[in-house]
């Protein structure tokens, strides 16, 4: 069990530490953690994703609040999906209004 844990640790070490070209990692703008408490949808005006393939370790939905804060939310929560759906609906409505 301990051997397996040690092996896993080493494996992960190497997987994540295989030399990056240029000799260093890239300091991406990322979420370091995500909130577990739901954010009220009415303070959010925009969203975007920052996922693993963007070079982030913590996949997140970033909600831009009305005051310009960038809050990190987990991408797999129902309340997050609800906010995203509403934002998308509103955008579509806005678009129809403006056109």
């Amino acid at each position: 069990m301990q051997t397996a844990a040690a092996l896993l640790t080493l494996s992960l070490l190497i997987l994540w530490t295989s030399p990056a070209l240029g000799g260093a990692n890239d300091a991406e703008d990322c979420c370091l953690s995500v909130t577990q408490r739901p954010i009220p949808g009415n303070i959010v005006r925009a969203f975007h994703y920052l996922l693993i393939k963007d070079g982030c370790r913590v996949p997140a939905v970033v909600f831009t609040t009305l005051r310009g804060h960038q809050l990190c939310a987990p991408p797999d929560q129902p309340w997050v999906d609800r906010i995203i759906r509403r934002l998308q609906k509103n955008t579509a409505k806005n678009k129809r209004h403006s056109s």
Partner: protein, 414 residues
């Protein structure tokens, strides 16, 4: 997953202007499957700049300003996006300059090593000299990829996905090959000294060094497979960059096998061999006597010191980083930026080690200096005006009485 490959931060932070209004792309509905990018098309605005969300429209606005006050809602601060513009600015200056400096050093030094060897037209005698030649080749290839990395950091990756894969693969293969050849050299040196002892092993077959070299290159290519297969030029913050990102559909078994192979073959094996051989070598040298002992010891100390000073900080920084990752420890944004900075600087040092290999391993060797002298005299020794009339050979240590010392010294001049 730590993105490897041309992981160089983009130059522009995409800060959406408050007035921008972009429509959602069709990929929005299935964002985790569609290739979702942050740049440009990803900003989804639900409301215009003036219109509040519908649910908030009927709220009694009693505060002097908008009333959608998230601070009033959250007693404790919510996790926010960590912007690293300052680290990225430093990295944009630091990485290309280090890459170019190491590339220049590596191309010149390793080119010289290869040139002297070719000019000397001497058959590779010892396994050490064969492996030194391969080390120079590996470092030369590594140095060749660095200008691409610097260019990619400065102005984005513009050479396409295939080139990204090829360059990343070459980088990874030559990095691993260099490390493995360092281990081979340490083993050769130990064997050479052990053989000089009265009860040492017999000389091995002359072709074996080449077989070992072929195995090392094969192994390096195997270790470079992830970089070769999964590097891609993705877009982030308006700039294309070449980096290694494991596809999310990859099975855990494949990832695990690749990781174990990387650990055992690419890291633990060369490090263990090096540590063991130089420890044994140091012990043998300390037990030996004679004037050349000090010189040999000095070389060993230089090698170990260079390894400790240049490579160890990076390894420690990575260890710390990985410990964070495994413990899922949340760092504050300033702490995360400090960690990135530490990785950046120590990574530059680790890269510098590759450029310094010729200095440490070849230039310290006496035979290399003889060959270089010969090369500078344009390959001709005997017709020269030198009184001795022939190439200056390394003098045999006839004055030394103990056979151990004579042989141990001869193992240091390649």
């Amino acid at each position: 997953t730590r993105p490897a490959g041309f992981g160089l931060p983009g130059p522009t932070l995409l800060a959406p202007a408050p007035g921008t209004h972009s429509s959602p792309s069709p990929g929005f509905l299935r964002p985790r499957q569609a290739g979702y990018r942050r740049a440009g098309d990803t900003w989804c605005r639900a409301d215009g700049s003036r219109r509040p969300p519908p649910s908030a429209r009927f709220r009694v606005s009693w505060s002097p300003y908008s009333g959608y006050d998230e601070e009033a809602y959250s007693a404790e601060p919510l996790p926010e996006l960590c912007y690293k513009a300052d680290v990225q600015a430093f990295s944009r200056a630091f990485q290309p300059s280090v890459s170019l400096a190491v590339a220049a050093l590596g191309l010149a030094g390793n080119g010289l090593v290869l040139a002297t060897h070719l000019a000397a037209r001497r058959a590779v005698r010892s396994p050490t000299s064969a492996h030194l030649l391969q080390l120079a080749l590996a470092d030369l290839l590594l140095a060749l990829t660095l200008p691409f990395a610097a260019a990619g950091a400065l102005q984005g990756w513009s050479l396409g996905s295939a080139t990204c894969r090829a360059i990343s693969g070459l980088y990874s293969a030559s990095f691993h090959a260099g490390f493995l050849f360092l281990a081979c050299i340490s083993a050769d040196r130990y064997v050479a000294i052990a053989r000089a002892l009265p009860a040492g092993p017999r000389p091995s077959a002359p072709g074996r060094a080449h077989v070992v070299s072929a195995i090392v290159w094969l192994l390096s290519l195997l270790l470079a497979l992830p970089a070769l297969l999964f590097s891609q030029d993705g877009q982030r913050e308006g700039q294309r960059r070449c980096r290694l990102i494991f596809p999310e559909g990859l099975t855990q078994t494949v990832k695990g096998a690749s990781a174990v192979a990387q650990v055992v073959l690419g890291f633990a094996l060369p490090l263990g061999v090096m540590a063991a051989c130089y420890a044994l070598l140091g012990r043998t040298l300390l037990a030996a006597r004679g004037p050349e002992r000090r010189r040999a010891l000095r070389v060993v100390v230089a090698l170990v010191a260079a390894f400790v000073v240049l490579q160890l900080p990076y390894s420690l920084a990575l260890l710390l980083d990985t410990a964070d990752l495994l413990a899922a420890r949340e760092r504050s944004c300033p702490a995360s930026k400090r960690k990135d900075l530490a990785l950046l600087v120590t990574g530059g040092l680790a890269l510098a080690r590759c450029g310094l290999n010729p200095v440490l391993y070849a230039f310290l060797g006496l035979r290399f200096r003889q060959d270089l002298r010969r090369l500078l005299r344009s390959g001709s020794c005997s017709p020269g005006p030198r009184p001795r009339g022939r190439c200056p050979r390394r003098p045999r240590l006839s004055s030394c009485s103990a056979p151990t010392e004579t042989h141990s010294v001869s193992s240091w001049d390649y």
